[in-house]
Amino acid sequence: MEKTSVLVALFAALIAVLGLVPAFPLASGVPITAQSLGIMLCGTILGAKKGGMAALFFVVLTLVGLPLLAGGRGGIGLLAGASAGFIIGFPIAAYTTGWLMEKTKSVDIQISVSLSSVVGGIIILYIPGLIGMMINAGMSLNAALVAVSVYLPGDVLKVILATIVTSAIFKARPNSVLARN
């Protein structure tokens, strides 16, 4: 119980701290940030339930008003912005990443992490993200897809980073990667 609370709090704080790494605002109104790396790590290290909770915790407190998103943004007004879908998608993405990690326990850790973070952190995160851009920025699906493609190289880098971090932790302390326990 205590351990779960602490892990959820610390990983939610990790997502917030990654938002302090300088973000690059892009033309589509959704910045490139390191925060989605935090989302992937929540899933790959903590697993589905705890990882999803950490991301949900972060999202709820951001929407309530803490200026925790990259660039010091926060508040319910975010739901009218172009990144609304991505923000709502964070917990879903973290949960899916963790769920896939748990399902691929028998596979090599690097393959398992990259697969889970590609599916959870990119594909699943982009679905609500695209819907949000279509509703809030009035884009067509094609335009939104083109706008989102700019983020792909950054996201691939984040997947690689998530893989390096998670497998290094797994090598050093296998018990700490809860998604594999």
Binding site: S5, G29, G75, A80, I164
Partner: protein, 204 residues
């Protein structure tokens, strides 16, 4: 870090946080049903009037200054809809975005973060229905807010240590030690919590 509250006290400061949250959310939700640019613009003007009535010209200026985060979004939306020739739709979206931020900021500028957290904790009691322990939620909120500056400082320290050993500053090299240190912290803090009585299983 959380210095959202304006030093300027207004009439809305006295209204309870709960009421303000309900009002803010319902007002923000209503915005999504409005499709007419003229109606949207009237709402925007009405909001500016509310700012003025609540705290005078100084507060209105503060509210407008807070809108600076929306500038890039507004520019993009404007160009995009000019290009598509959907001026009506563009205007609606732009004023919806600005109005939503005005509503949210009105709440944030007139409520202390401390009060907001207290309200969340108070209402987290109802999470019991879903099998969530409200005491755990309170502890997690406190820990979360406390750990942000700690983790930020640690990331900076690791960066310094890294740049002392290399000519390049690279974020990815500190990510493994940072993640490991967080897991260490989790062990220490959860043991410390347990040693001090731990999280209450049931609200007494």
């Amino acid at each position: 870090m959380f210095n959202n509250v304006s030093s300027h006290r207004t009439k809305l400061d006295e209204v309870s946080v709960e009421k303000k949250i309900v009002l803010t959310c319902s007002a923000a939700a209503t915005l999504f049903f409005i499709k007419n640019p003229i109606v949207m613009f009237s709402i925007f003007s009405l909001l500016l009037l509310i700012y003025f009535l609540v705290g005078g010209l100084k507060f209105l200026r503060l509210g407008l200054f807070q809108l600076k985060v929306t500038i890039p979004f507004v520019i993009i939306l404007a160009f995009w809809h000019l290009y598509l020739d959907h001026l009506d739709k563009g205007m609606t979206l732009i004023f919806r975005l600005i109005s939503a931020f005005l509503i949210a900021n009105l709440f944030l500028l007139t409520s202390k973060i401390h009060d907001i957290i207290l309200a969340i904790q108070k209402y987290s009691l109802y999470l019991k229905v879903f099998g969530i322990n409200p005491h755990a939620v309170s502890i997690t909120i406190g820990l979360f807010i406390r750990s942000i500056p700690i983790l930020n400082q640690r990331a900076k320290n690791l960066m310094l240590a890294q740049s002392a050993r290399s000519t390049k500053r690279s974020f990815w090299r500190i990510s493994v030690p940072l993640a490991l240190s967080i897991l260490d912290d989790a062990d220490h803090v959860s043991e410390a919590l347990r040693a001090r009585g731990g999280i209450k299983k049931r609200e007494s």
